[in-house]
Subunit: 295 residues, 2 copies
């Protein structure tokens, strides 16, 4: 790559995702001319400066975004539409607006009235993360070999979509393009439902009698532990995801609850066939994952 993808890129919210993007960009100086970093939180900005995450680090959002060729919002899902609608009127004509939010439909609905024909809206959700957050949690290889789901607004010019794709390839990711609703259903199943279940089962364990709870912790290695890693994730982020992907999430949760109730019935009535069939399905899925090299 000889020409930079963007002369000026502004990252709003240098947390886990934002700082990981910035760290990688720092290691590939040819990709972007000037890197601007902004946040509402002075402590976050102080860390961004100490970690040398950008050429300009400022708490002045308007100044940060107004000359950027690309503005990338890396804030919690609930903050994306409010910030986007505030900065859209002052963004440069021809610029690209993108965000890394984990849900789509509710953001698109909130943003659509504010979109401008001369600014391409091309959100891209990197399917990568850890249970940690903040500028110190990021690392340059976070996106390597992970998927990034690109869900462009239907009025976004192809050139802008191509640039965002190239950007995420440079981050090390593989990209897939899809529409907002499909994105939300897939993510409800692969990510939001598993997280909801993980939080819930930890809550269930937490309501046990005191003595039993301590034994649950002692003997967690027998299965329970596998559910707790993802349950350590950030509350604000997940509150926003659950509320913003409500319909798709409640849809898969309802299916899951019915399946769990059917399994309970099978156990209650000693229906061996149904039990074995359900277990066999789990094995099949696991096998497919291994073949897919995703496990």
């Amino acid at each position: 790559m000889t020409e930079p993808l963007f002369d000026t890129l502004c990252v709003v919210g240098p947390g886990l995702i934002g700082s990981s993007v910035l760290r990688r960009l720092r290691a590939m100086p040819e990709l972007v001319g000037t890197l601007i970093v902004t946040d509402r939180d002075r402590d976050v900005l102080a860390r961004a400066r100490a970690l040398d995450l950008g050429d300009v680090v400022t708490d002045d959002l308007d100044a940060a975004v107004k000359d950027a060729d690309c503005v990338m919002l890396c804030v919690p899902v609930g903050a994306i539409a409010p910030i986007a609608s505030r900065i859209l009127p002052i963004m440069k004509s021809g610029a690209i607006l993108t965000d890394v939010g984990s849900t789509r439909r509710s953001i698109v609905d909130a943003l659509t009235p504010h979109l401008r024909t001369d600014i391409a809206y091309v959100p891209a959700h990197p399917m990568a993360g850890t249970e940690h957050s903040g500028p110190d949690a990021g690392f340059a290889t976070l996106f390597e070999d992970r998927w990034c789901l690109i869900t462009p607004d239907r009025n976004a010019p192809e050139d802008a979509v191509t640039r965002i794709g190239a950007f995420w390839h440079a981050m090390g990711a593989r990209t897939r393009r899809m529409d907002a609703d499909h994105h939300d259903t897939i993510c409800a199943m692969v990510s939001h439902l598993p997280h909801l279940i993980a939080f819930t089962i930890c809550g269930t364990a937490d309501t046990l009698a005191e003595d039993m709870r301590s034994e649950v912790l002692d003997f967690a290695a027998s299965g329970f532990r596998d559910f707790t890693r993802i349950a350590a994730s950030d509350p604000t982020m997940w509150r926003d995801i659950f509320l913003n992907n409500r319909d798709a999430l409640l849809g898969v949760l309802d299916r899951f609850s019915q399946d769990a109730a059917a399994m309970a019935d099978a156990i209650r009535s000693g229906d061996e066939e149904t039990i074995v069939e359900t277990i066999e399905r789990g094995r099949r899925i696991r096998r497919s994952l291994l073949e897919n090299r995703q496990a």
Copy 2:
């Protein structure tokens, strides 16, 4: 240790657990005098011979158990009581009967009428395993630093309980003594419920439309994958566990389902406080696990 713990030990069912015990014993020849291995399956016995798991490898169950000082049943939960009630009448007076079954109450209830006053029944459940099974899946270090839950029959002499404890310490495990019902409730929460949920969520994903299912596999790394490792486990073993720990399992499943329904309500009604509270609980449990060095 100068004197062997048992002059003759017979392992019935050299699968994952049985062959792991045998492998470790082979590496500690001072622990047991003669090792007898038996199974109903000739292929399993052929592997046991090829792997040199015992001094005597035979398909003759009666001959295998009759002179043993300790008989250890390492067969699926549903096979434990039938085999135990068959061999109890021919076992040597003063011998110890043990099993490694993952559930207790239903086995104890089925066995109690067959127990003899001159044979100690001291089951011990090692909380260790993998998603693989059979004689080739075992390894000598499987039990290291894992818990083994000892649930002696109330008529078992202390000396027998002490020996079984010493045996599992030699396997590398830590031991905890408890009664059958407490065992079943704890295991329902830390192991059986997580497995049931893992099987169920894989089943839910499996019922999605064809195209979506393939995307679930592609994007599994976002949380779903964490649930599939334990879902790869053996169907016979888990069918038996679910059916034999029915009451305790349905009890925790019911609690969990209520908690999941409450979370769904909170999401539906936008009750941020309840959502954040539930997520915070997950983090707290995870933190306790990390402090407990179990994560």
